[in-house]
Amino acid sequence: MPSNLESQLFVFLLATFVGFEVIRRVSPLLHTPLMSLTNAISAISLVGSIVIAGAEKSQLSLILGTIAVVCSTANVVGGFVITDRMLKMFKKREPGK
């Protein structure tokens, strides 16, 4: 466990720094799509939900896991679709207009 802990904290620290650097550069123009995209990405908690729901270790974990799969799937599907829908609308001026 302690060695796991060390590498976990390492990953968390580095990912947070990468996150800060990358997200700082996102134009305020796109802050709404940014939020819906990061929301979709963090719905990766779906992978945890899948294992809980699929392992069927107890009645309780099956129920909670299935609800969690529903919630995260809704975010995965919805998050990516609405982000793309928003980004599609951002257009530059047509030349000559």
Binding site: Q8, V18, I23, I50, E56, L64
Partner: protein, 462 residues
């Protein structure tokens, strides 16, 4: 063995895809590619997870996929752009609930095997998860007008909230040290759920951009905590990315209001203004669409300042027509976007982009403020506090020190507004009483529609 390698490979690829996805999102020209690669990463991770050896049956996973898609897809496809803040709040609730429920399931599955560290991460996951769930649902209710969007405050509120939170944390700490005391787990869960409600109740509509960002950050952190519990590095990475994104956005929002986190969460923006309520009746100059149209026609440059009022009135498409007519007459039209305009970060940009206004016309506050003194007309549509000059000089004003759009420096100011009633922060706006200000009273959509009619009618038929 091979299965483990496969899963690890897909997770590493997914983590890389997520970072690239956010990187490409930084600019409108590459942003859609960012969504593609994000989807790819997600797909890889899901496929990788499905071969996990602990999974014995796919029945309920499939049920979850189908139900989730049935909920998520319509919310994404049919939700009008004016409702994006609501959808976002709802999705924070979904994400946080998933994390909290997985944490709960993990706790009851492994109660006797949990190490102190895992239990600590699990408590964090569950507390953040549950409080973000109810908090986001409250935010959703306020944005959707199911709940009053004004702050609900009562005496001793902060004491109640903080002591409740302290009890929740203390119980969790005790549970971390004694994981077997499973009767305490529901207590932590219930207190967190309750705290989420109480935390958001006193927050007013104008503070929603900060609160939504903060909830975004919490939802991400609870996903990261879940990664610690499950020893899943992909979850840690994705959660950390989401957490830092939400954090950066909330810092930007706070800065744009010259307020601190504690002030947003515990300040109750609405209470201060009772004193300012007794404003004397001062004369304003109101104007008709005809007069306003004449001035706009004669202008060489116009800056439009949109606010939440434009979103409420769904006026963005009429604004586009106005933009087209003026641009065709050679008027230079730009849009000035205050960081906290609307109900979430970037809200105005999405609405104006929806109405087909080119994004290079949408300018940020720092960039456009020097332009106001050289601008003939500043047209304020449904924005209030972000244009109030009192923020610059009146030290007694609750918004003193907040960075504002220097609308008052334009040669003529036009304000489209329903009535003289003060904005969400409840502060009287001295902009309305200036000599060069014309108040255009009416619904934003119909008034801009009238302006369009006037301008179109005056044009000589081609």
């Amino acid at each position: 063995m091979i299965e483990t390698y496969f899963i690890q490979f897909t997770y590493i690829a997914a983590a890389a895809a997520f970072v690239l996805s956010l990187k490409w999102l930084s600019h409108p020209t590459t942003a859609r590619r960012g969504v593609r690669v994000g989807e790819l990463g997600m797909l890889l991770a899901i496929v990788g997870t499905l071969v996990h050896h602990e999974i014995v049956s796919y029945q309920w996973i499939l049920v979850g996929f189908v139900l989730g898609s049935l909920i998520g897809l319509p919310l994404a496809v049919f939700m009008p752009m004016t409702h994006v803040p609501q959808r976002t709040a709802l999705s924070h609730a979904f994400g946080a609930l998933a994390a909290a429920l997985v944490g709960t399931a993990e706790y009851y599955l492994h109660t006797d095997k949990l190490t102190t560290f895992t239990m600590a991460a699990l408590s964090l996951e569950v507390i953040l998860g549950f409080l973000t769930t109810t908090g986001s649902l409250m935010a959703f209710g306020k944005l959707q007008d199911l709940l009053p969007s004004r702050p609900l405050v009562y005496r001793g509120q902060n004491v109640v909230n903080l002591s409740l939170f302290a009890v929740a944390v203390a119980t969790a700490v005790y549970l971390v040290l004694n994981p077997a005391r499973s009767e305490l787990f529901p207590v932590v869960a219930a207190l967190s759920l309750l705290f989420g409600v109480l935390l958001i109740i006193p927050i007013g509509g104008a503070d929603m951009p900060t609160v939504i960002s903060l909830l975004n950050s919490y939802a991400g952190l609870s996903a990261a905590a879940m990664g610690f519990v499950l020893d899943n590095k992909l979850l840690i990475v994705a959660g950390a990315l989401d957490g830092s994104s939400g954090f950066i956005l909330s810092v930007i929002m706070c800065r744009a209001m010259n307020r601190s986190f504690t002030n947003v969460l515990f300040g109750g923006f609405g209470q201060v203004q009772m004193a300012a309520g007794a404003a004397e009746q001062r004369p304003v100059r109101s104007a008709s669409p005809e007069e306003a149209a004449q001035i706009l026609e004669a202008a060489a440059s116009v800056i439009v300042v949109p606010g939440y009022g434009m979103a409420v009135a769904q006026a963005q498409h009429k604004v586009r027509e106005l933009y087209d007519l003026l641009t065709r007459r050679g008027v230079d039209v730009k849009f000035a976007i205050h960081p906290v305009a609307g109900r979430m970060p970037g809200h105005m940009n999405v609405l104006l982009a929806e109405a087909d206004i080119p994004y290079d016309r949408l300018t940020e506050m720092e960039e456009i403020n020097p332009d106001f003194p050289r601008t003939d007309v500043a047209l304020v549509i449904g924005a209030n506090d972000v244009t109030n000059p009192a923020a610059r000089h009146d030290q007694t004003s609750p918004i003193y020190g907040m960075p504002i759009l220097d609308v008052d420096k334009a040669r003529t100011v036009m304000v489209i507004k329903r009535s003289l009633s003060p904005g969400f922060a409840g502060i009287d706006n001295e902009l309305y009483y200036m000599d060069k200000t014309m108040m255009l009273f009416g619904d934003a959509k119909s008034f801009v529609g009238d302006l369009v009619k006037e301008l179109a009618g005056a044009r000589t038929p081609a």
